[in-house]
Symmetry: C2
Subunit: 305 residues, 2 copies
């Protein structure tokens, strides 16, 4: 049975992903430090409805389906927490069977501070974003190097890494011909927030790990995801994912829907003339599933827009 480890398993995508794979018979382990919940409390931006803790949700999932999602509450910026998932020294906060499931075949890396506005509140939030996102990714890369170069990582990037260049955006890579010689490079990246810049740096780190140590990584460059319900959350509303509609963690479509329902004027972003690609949450899960069953090869940083 294939074992999937989800970093950031309490998040907007993390929990639906955990249920999705659990439902399909995978062994699933989730880890989270409740960063998002704590940040919402600190910044006084409430979620739309209360959501049980990760441990509670795992218990509800088990009661309703008989399936086990193992839960670790811990901070992955601490390298020892990350490495425990490879050495077996992991301490489960909840599990039916506390025996180590083994090194995961697939790791889904969502454990990042995901908000551009948060990253620019001030220098302190900028540093939190920088440290969290880069340490988690670096701890992951070095754990793979040291313990399991065959494990496939699926990372969620963002189209925002590319910025708005004056040339067509390609799928991660570009062939450059220059003065009669040719080479293939990462497509140029220049973002418009500190958060997006940390995602560029994630790419720098992952591409380094792939080149040096033959890691295998898929980077899904997504647009903003929207929606609440998935097939698995329909079972019980307590299984719904966290849902933010505020100006810090609320993404645009979720925010618009909430505003529309309560009759509040829609927020205008910039001059209101931007066009972007948006992705429905069920489609995101399908993307991640497809990347799982057809993984990147060794020594491949595979990028999908």
């Amino acid at each position: 049975m294939s074992h999937i480890l989800i970093l950031g398993g309490d998040g907007y995508l993390g929990w639906p992903t955990a249920m999705y794979f659990s439902q399909r018979g995978y062994d699933v382990t989730v880890v989270d430090n409740y960063f998002r919940r704590n940040a919402c409390t600190e910044l006084d931006v409430g979620m739309l409805y209360p959501v049980p803790t990760l441990v509670e949700r795992a218990k509800i999932w088990h009661e309703l389906t008989g399936k086990e999602i193992k839960v670790v509450i811990g901070d992955l910026t601490d390298p020892e927490i990350m490495r425990a998932f490879f050495t077996g020294k992991v301490e489960y906060s909840w599990a039916l069977d506390k025996k180590f499931t083994g090194i995961p075949e697939t790791i889904i890396h969502y454990a990042e501070q995901p908000s551009a506005p948060y990253s620019l509140i001030n220098y302190k939030y900028a540093n939190i974003t920088l440290i969290n996102n880069l340490l988690v990714t670096n701890n992951l890369v070095f754990s793979l190097r040291d313990f399991s170069r065959d494990t496939h990582v699926i990372h969620v990037g963002t189209m925002g890494e590319y910025g708005t260049p004056n040339i067509d955006i390609e799928e991660g890579w570009i062939d450059i011909e220059h003065k009669g010689k040719k080479d293939k490079f990462l497509f140029p990246r220049q973002a418009s927030s500190l958060y997006h810049t940390t995602k560029i740096m994630d790419t720098d780190l992952m591409w380094f790990g792939v080149r040096m140590w033959d890691l295998r990584i898929t980077d899904l460059m997504q647009g903003p995801v929207y929606g609440i319900e998935t097939e698995e959350s329909k079972i019980d509303k307590r299984l719904n994912t966290i849902f933010n509609y505020d100006e810090i963690f609320g993404t645009i479509v979720n925010r618009f829907i909430t505003q529309a329902i309560i009759g509040y004027p829609l927020t205008v972003y910039g001059k209101g003339g931007q066009t972007r690609g948006y992705l429905y949450i069920k489609d995101t899960l399908q993307c991640v599933h497809k990347a799982t069953i057809t993984p990147a090869k060794k020594h491949e940083l595979r990028i999908f827009n």
Copy 2:
């Protein structure tokens, strides 16, 4: 009188740079957390000769020349230490006149963990390198944003950021024509150590700050620097810069010279067939001086190889 702040003022380049500008009549402030000295102690890699502390060297410099180099011992990964150089809340560890000199016109940013081997000793040293280099740079970028967008920063990059592409390396930037459209981008960067990767990320951060907040930054992409003596250190041998010849902090030419003098076989790097550009320490000081007197413009990330 122009005021220069040197981040990493105790380092191999930091101290010679401080004396160079002090000698030429600039007001000079240096800051350092003794990272290099402490790392040498921890890793048991001794320097070639003992070097007085930064405070002692500033006192010696004052005794011999009558000039003042203000010293702060502090860790620039702490944003409050960085911001003090702009708000005036700085606490000098040594100064003749403890009154705040004012916001610097020029900041020379050397405050980085500079060793590729150090960054790859293991995951802990990788994290130290990542955190140190990125937090210092981010604290600098946000301080400039918040307090002084006119201050010119000179950062020392490295040719190693470019890696070894199959196209000619250009001076920082490249015009890409793609499917009938054109744009100018940072020259592709992909390095072969974690240290070099953090320098790529520095560039990501600085370019973000320049685009967003009209900062003015010069990035000097240097090869390894060699040599001990500068015009100013000749005055007294206690003013010599720190000199490493070990396998962690010793750079190649300094290491070869030391090995040659004691009759120890020269270390072979890789297959021994690499070619690289090396820079004499006095020439580095000249580069930095030239960049100081002809600064980058607002909204310019100026890159010299």
